[in-house]
Amino acid sequence: MLVVELWSPGLRWNQIGVGEVVVGVNPLTDVSDRAERVDGVDSRFQRFYEDRYESTVRLARLLTGDSHAAEDIAQDAFVKVYRYAESSQQLIGNPAALLRTTTVNLCRSWYTRQRRAELRMSHHGPDPTSLTVWERELDASLRRLPHDQRAVVVLRYWLGLSESEIADALECRPGTVKSRHARALRTLRKELP
């Protein structure tokens, strides 16, 4: 059977993009003997994992404000993407975008749980000596933003995504991104000297 999918052996996972249609097998949906497997994991996914792990942790750290939770969330995001690919017959056109959206959603879930917990907790942030005063204030201000506004800020100013890419990642309309962006920036401008 000819399978049309978005993968070629010479292409790194994080270089796969929509429209790069090649003939072959899907490294996540097809346990192919062509793919080297180490400890049961496709070696190409392992490379994707290694290439993307750090940036995913840092994205989660900005979205949660918690570096420990960020590592867990990043792990979970990879697991979810992997399992999604294993269980789905759908081809993953843009695994980097899927990973990003999964990470954002996991951070949202984490945030929702934390909001209850915050009723009875105070939070110790990152090592203050590693940050300037302004950055510590930025960190605190980000924590106070609603999750969706914080996500827009991080995706826009850290990842440099466009409005439509952010809308895809957050699964909302570009207009909603625009309004969240406006509200978040307005809050940050007022809070940060």
């Binding site: 994991v41 792990y53 420990h68 960020a70 105070s122 106070r144 625009k178």
Partner: protein
């Protein structure tokens, strides 16, 4: 001139934001990824980390409420009615949202006490309030909309450019009720949805985009065009037009062509199109029509602004700083600018925000409270009347007072008797106080201040300059209630009395070494001044040589 015209909004701040986020993201080391293990799924474990980075607050007879604005610890005055001894003390809720147990790391008890500055540890009653904010909260009770209150506009002819898409979520997230019907059962007028279109056509697969926005605001089309012009830095090129018999403004919205007009009192309509449709813009605008009432939202989240207690809603950013009342599960929620918390206890109804050296204390009170007194030190207090806002049983207040050593609040009845009181300590975070209209402040004096309440505006561009000047003025007995950064730099320092210069203002001229007065210009700062301010000192790049030299300069 608007503040926006003076401020480089897009360049420096956004670059600092990028740099700051990058440094934040790299503030902590990331471990090596190692081998990927798909069998390890960690997200279902308890959300409270066992790493000891979180701690449980515990204090006797204290209520801790944390909202978007920060952490507020309330220590009730034991002498007041409803003192802690009369209160049922609830054990700590030790379950998180997932039902997992929360335990405080045993070695953190000391830091808990220092963090909340409370007496002997004991179980904490956290109340039952749900935290909501005005952007992401779906938990407000619905508030019915009066007929016509949320009419939005669309266009049959625009469908020629693509399928119609409507974003009614905007009514949930970007509106608030500004006026209730006389019987209080519905919202008669809403505010919100600026800069974001409710209806769009096309815009995908290379087709040009047509946006039709309905903005609920009591501003002019010209003001709207200025706020939502090409860069936010000003109106850009505009031209007057007439649309549907109304005066309007044609302007550029980013790279797109747009027109805005007032269709009805408090209702602006704007149409923006891609450049390829510029020739069709006015025809498209003429063709807009009200949406079918059956498709108009019937409710919005129950979030109402109390008129007169804060700055009005701003079309510029879909927000406003005022006392906000929400209703969640029938319980009143209150906030300033956004909902802080919900509850029936007095403490749950107080909102405290700091801005510089001022504190704003706002909130709602029971119906029998006609005054609220806020004291921050033996010499500084503010007393304000509460106001009614139908149909709420509650009354509402908002006071600005200079910061002091402490913060206590007293609730008074119409006989000036103290009904209840509380000492509010440890304002861990205070933000976004706003400085709009408040109830009358009847006392705010400090001996030796010459009757002046000073705000410093740092236009020197040198960090730390204002702090040094503030310290110097304070040492000389002046009250400095705030320090803010100017929207632009100036060479010379200036003294700007807010109203007629007083004798104290003249004395201050000498102290500062400034030759004369300048007229106070509100656009020098992004926010408003606290209403108690009498004189503004603008610090230029040359500093105030008669006083503390700016940091880094050689005397």
């Amino acid at each position: 001139m608007k503040t926006d015209d003076l401020l480089d909004r897009s360049g420096s701040f956004e670059q600092r934001l990028r740099d700051g986020l990058n440094n934040l993201a790299h503030a902590d080391p990331v471990s090596e990824p190692g081998r990927f293990d798909p069998d390890v799924l960690r997200i279902d474990r308890p959300s409270v980390s066992g790493s000891g980075r979180w701690m449980v607050g515990a204090a006797a007879a204290a209520v801790v409420a944390i909202g978007v604005g920060g952490l507020l610890v309330v220590d009730r005055d034991a002498s007041a009615p409803n003192a802690p001894a009369d209160q049922p003390v609830t054990g700590p809720d030790t379950s998180n949202a997932d039902g997992a147990a929360i335990t405080a790391p045993p070695n953190e008890s000391d830091s808990v006490e220092s963090a909340v500055s409370m007496p002997a540890p004991a179980p904490v009653a956290f109340g039952t309030e749900e935290l909501c904010d005005d952007s992401g909260c779906d938990n407000f009770d619905p508030l019915a909309l009066a007929p016509g209150a949320a009419t939005y506009y669309r266009s049959d002819s625009a469908t020629a450019h693509g399928a119609e898409a409507t974003d009614l979520d905007l009514f949930t997230h970007l509106t608030r009720c500004a006026e209730l019907t006389p019987d209080g059962t519905a919202c008669a007028r809403i505010e919100g949805i600026a800069g974001v279109s409710v209806v769009t056509y096309g815009g995908s697969q290379g087709s040009p985009l047509v946006e039709i926005g309905t903005t609920y605001a009591t501003i002019t089309p010209a003001q709207y065009a200025a706020n939502w012009g090409p860069t936010g830095d000003g109106p850009g090129d505009t031209s007057p037009v007439v649309v549907r018999g109304h005066d309007g403004v044609r302007y550029a919205n980013e790279i797109r062509d747009a027109v805005v007009w007032q269709e009805a009192p408090g209702v602006l309509i704007w149409v923006a199109v891609d450049p390829s449709l510029s020739d069709d813009l006015l025809e498209l605008a003429e063709g807009v029509q009200p949406a079918d009432p059956a498709n108009v939202p019937a409710t919005i989240p129950h979030r109402v602004v109390v008129p007169g207690l804060g700055e009005p809603w701003e079309a510029e950013d879909n927000d406003g700083d005022g006392v906000i009342v929400g209703v969640h599960d029938g319980i009143e929620c209150v906030g300033f600018g956004y909902i802080d918390h919900c509850g029936t206890e007095l403490e749950n109804r107080v909102v405290v925000r700091t801005a510089g050296d001022s504190i704003r204390v706002s909130g709602s009170t029971p119906a029998d409270v006609v005054k609220v007194r806020v004291t921050t030190s033996p010499e500084v207090e503010a007393v304000g009347d509460t106001i009614t806002f139908a149909p709420y049983q509650s009354r509402f207040f908002s006071l600005v007072v200079a910061s002091g050593d402490s913060l206590s609040v007293e609730w008074l009845n119409d006989s000036d008797q103290v009904i209840d009181s509380a000492v509010l300590t440890d304002l861990v975070t205070g933000i976004d106080a706003g400085t709009g209209p408040t109830t009358t402040v009847t006392a705010n004096t400090v001996p030796g201040s010459n009757g002046l309440v000073i705000a410093l505006v740092d236009a020197s561009g040198t960090p730390g300059t204002a702090a040094a000047i503030a310290a110097d003025l304070t040492q000389r007995g002046y009250v400095v209630v705030s320090t803010q950064t100017a929207t632009q730099t100036f060479d010379e320092s200036m003294l700007m009395p807010v109203e007629t210069p007083s004798d104290g203002s003249n004395e201050l001229l000498t102290v500062l070494g400034i030759g004369g007065f300048d007229t106070w210009t509100p656009t020098l700062i992004e926010t408003s001044l606290a209403e108690t301010v009498t004189d503004v000192v603008v610090i230029g790049t040359g500093g105030l040589p008669a006083m503390t030299p700016p940091p880094g300069t050689v005397p």
